[in-house]
């Protein structure tokens, strides 16, 4: 063999060694999995935490009875919170604001951004219902002063008012404001603010766990070849591609 090819082959071997990963067989990996003992209690807590944070009140109450798991938050407070969330999701922003203040007047006081977004949503709903004059009045009296205090608010306000300039609102550049996703975004913000005011984590822990799984598998991929879970909804182990 010529020297050239000998060198190439040696370089390839060095490459292979440098990128060689530990290979873990299916059988070995399943043994490792079997060594992990998960407490049922902990899984129940994760599920309860999800039900409670996402606001599934009746389901949480029933789960408490069926599994004996205690929720980490007073279930009564969930009903109130869900009423607010629902009001925003249905476009009844005034109602939502009233309810939030009934729950805890400090929430909106200490959350100018949230309050602005709620007012912005009110404006969007007025525009959606064709109440142009009312909308303009509302924008000038309620939102413009906020806009003066904060550049970000001003830009948002301008975007919202721009809706009035277009005939075909669904196709205009700011049309997404009329989309239901905008309501959901605001509803989510309110939900989070209420949870925080109640000293509760605003996000359920389960999605975090799923993200950690994806993260650690990516990290481990660099050093080992092993059966992965690629589909979270089935949690089925897939053997590594050879």
């Amino acid at each position: 063999m010529s020297l050239f090819w000998i060198v190439i082959r040696q370089l390839a071997e060095i490459q292979a060694m440098a990128t060689s990963k530990k290979v873990i067989t299916r059988a070995d990996w399943e043994k490792k999995l079997n060594d992990v003992k998960v407490r049922k209690e902990d899984m129940n807590k994760l599920v309860m935490n999800f039900l409670v944070t996402e606001g599934y009140v009746e389901a949480a109450e029933k789960f408490r009875l069926e599994s004996g798991t205690e929720p980490d938050i007073d279930l009564a407070t969930i009903t109130d919170r869900m009423a607010v969330k629902k009001a925003v999701q249905s476009g009844n922003v005034e109602d939502a604001i009233e309810k939030v203040n009934d729950l805890n007047p400090e929430i909106l006081d200490t959350n100018p951004q949230l309050f602005f977004h709620l007012q912005q949503q009110r404006l969007i709903e007025l525009i959606r219902n064709g109440k142009v004059e009312e909308a303009l009045e509302f924008a000038q009296e309620e939102l413009a002063p906020r806009g003066e205090e904060n550049q970000g608010f001003l830009e948002e306000l301008e975007r919202t008012v721009a809706l009035l300039a277009f005939e075909d609102v669904s196709n205009c550049p700011v049309g997404e404001l009329l989309d239901i996703s905008q309501r959901l975004k605001t509803a989510s913000e309110v939900n989070a603010a209420i949870l925080t005011s109640q000293s509760h984590e605003k996000d359920p822990k389960l999605p975090s766990l799923l993200k950690m799984l994806i993260w650690v598998q990516t990290q481990l991929d660099e050093k080992a070849s092993y059966p992965r879970i690629n589909d979270l909804s089935t949690a089925v182990l897939e053997d590594p591609a050879v």
């Binding site: 003992k37 049922k40 599934y56 789960f63 069926e66 822990k205």
Partner: protein, 468 residues
Amino acid sequence: MSEATSQSQPPAKDLIGSYFLDLWCHTSKTLAVKPETKYASEFEEEEEESPTELDTVNSSGGFSVVGPDKLSLLYPSVNLHGHDVGVAQANRAAPMKRLLYYFEIHVKNAGSKGQIAIGFTTSAFRLRRQPGWEANSYGYHGDDGMLYRGHGKGDTFGPTYTTGDTVGGGINYATQEFFFTKNGVVVGSVYKDVKGPVIPTVAVHSQNEEVTVNFGKDPFVFDLKAYEAEQRAKQQIKIDNITIPQDASYGIVRSYLQHYGYEETLKLFDIAGQSTVPPISLVPEYGFSEEDSMYALNQRRTLRQLIKSGKIDETFSTLRKWYPQTVEDDTSTICFLLHCQKFIELVRDGKLEEAIMYGRSEFEKFKKLSGFDDLVKDCAALLAYEQPSKSSVGYLLQESQRELVADAVNAMVLSTNPKLKDASLCMHSCLERLIRQVTACFLEKRSLNGDQGEAFQLSRILKSGKKG
């Protein structure tokens, strides 16, 4: 501990029973060694011991004196050259199976030249040189504020320190760095280019220098907990930015409720799911169809309720009526679990004599099961105490034991589904499989990283974010 070694491969039905029996054995063993354990994972992590005091066995040839409490170091004489440093290492290497390790020294007296050092060395270190002056050692020196990491010449690092200062040295296993603090503030960090265990080290080198060492017995001047939270948060941000499918969590919770037979909760959950905005639509899972997970949902719910209320006789009769194949083999593991539970319930009700009679007539036939001896011993031990719930076998009287039996029966019933393709799907819910995978991956990652750093701990996730 495989069943296969003590007897021939158990039939498929008993695989399920054996799994739960194994789980029970694990709890029993864990609690036997350390009764106050609440979380098995915490137990494993605490096995690693921490340094507690200075080591006096490997002295540095008498140049320095370790105080009687083994937490102070004094340099009594005058130093003459660079090979008469008074060095003391801790009595153990720093534990590795955690995110951070940290210890502090307080300079009681900077002596004539303030040539104090704090750092980390290996067991091979020559104990008459300043940490950092030799290979595989690191030292933050008080006289010049420099960091020495293996050669005589140091790098500019932080401020000098003297009498009255408290200086800390730490290891961050996630970033593989050493970090140092002065009076509660981080002064800098440096890459840890040492493999294997390192030992916390302090050194003094001029007349009358004296330091005291704190390995955690007293509160640290540095807010270690806050720093730890900060470091975790940094890692968390990377993780938070990962996207997951929109309704992944919803689907997993739903499948959890189906798997364990929480029928009523599932009904309400589905109703709520339809009225959310926008309504949640789930992609049907392959491998385990909707039919499979809904199989015998009502029956499984009923059985779970029976077991959770301690009605074991009724459980037996109901199983015989609905799923005779699960209990027809009277020597199967599932029968063993149920009979033990009946025994436990009798003890709970104070019917001790009845319990003994029951045990005598029922337990004998399960002698061949692995783990039998220890578990029956645990059950029998309940009889010995006036207040069994407060004893070391008190765990048997807790809800978790009923839960274990209920889960085992649940899995057995699921296995009777004629359409079932894979028996292992009965034993673990989707959520459990995900948790096992993430735990195993973290452990493997740590093991490939020289066994340094944290493992995944579900208990920590559950506890995090709790205020007050």
